[in-house]
Symmetry: C2
Subunit: 147 residues, 2 copies
Amino acid sequence: MSTEPCVLCATEGGIPVFQGEKFRVIRAQEAGFPAFYRVIWMAHVAELSDLDAPDLALCMAAVVAVERVLREQLQPTKINLAALGNMVAHLHWHVIARFDWDSHFPAPVWATAQREPEAAALAQVTAKLGVLDQALAQSLTALILPA
Amino acid sequence: MSTEPCVLCATEGGIPVFQGEKFRVIRAQEAGFPAFYRVIWMAHVAELSDLDAPDLALCMAAVVAVERVLREQLQPTKINLAALGNMVAHLHWHVIARFDWDSHFPAPVWATAQREPEAAALAQVTAKLGVLDQALAQSLTALILPA
């Protein structure tokens, strides 16, 4: 294993959207995919199954909360969820709003691009990012409020 | 939306490993990735957030159960989890044991191959598939047993 500090322990990993005690959410700034967020577990664990049952439920509740806001705000063609971590083995979920006009659809964002994204549609999503980030922060704050 | 029947409604989608009331698990038979399983939700829904809370918990418990068995039986370098569904918008989870010797590591399996997989290591994983399938069936049966 590498002795370098983990990049998700050492840095924010993107534009901060929400900071909780157990997880944070950042916007990833991946070119061509404006509505690409990551739910990053704060503790340095590699796999989802490293979490105990309450933490696992909280982690997935956060992922689903992000998914719900993306669906409500953007009506994407599809949501893509992935926990890979081959490069950075620190538990983080990719939550990506996909559109039939994006550069890779219907292929995964990690595959080869199929086309240039539709510029007008891309600009429309990008223009909504402020509202989107705010809606996400609100939803995630509500999620962790004590019942 | 397509009027063709959904391939995951119409067909098994792989080698059957476990059949429950709410979900099934199949082995995917993707070349170079012997330990590639899918947890397929039986009801035709597109997104994880289409599930109610108990179904969502069950779905993720199934994914984590598959992950745990893969880790125990194979000690993979990493587990990859993904719910994409851009091609087939019927909720299914890819659960993939990844190894540093596989054809794509550390890239996602959907990216461009980086090398030929190590033949001996690949054969070793392939030789374990019978035991693996059985361990998965056992673990998933235990998961859905009434408490």
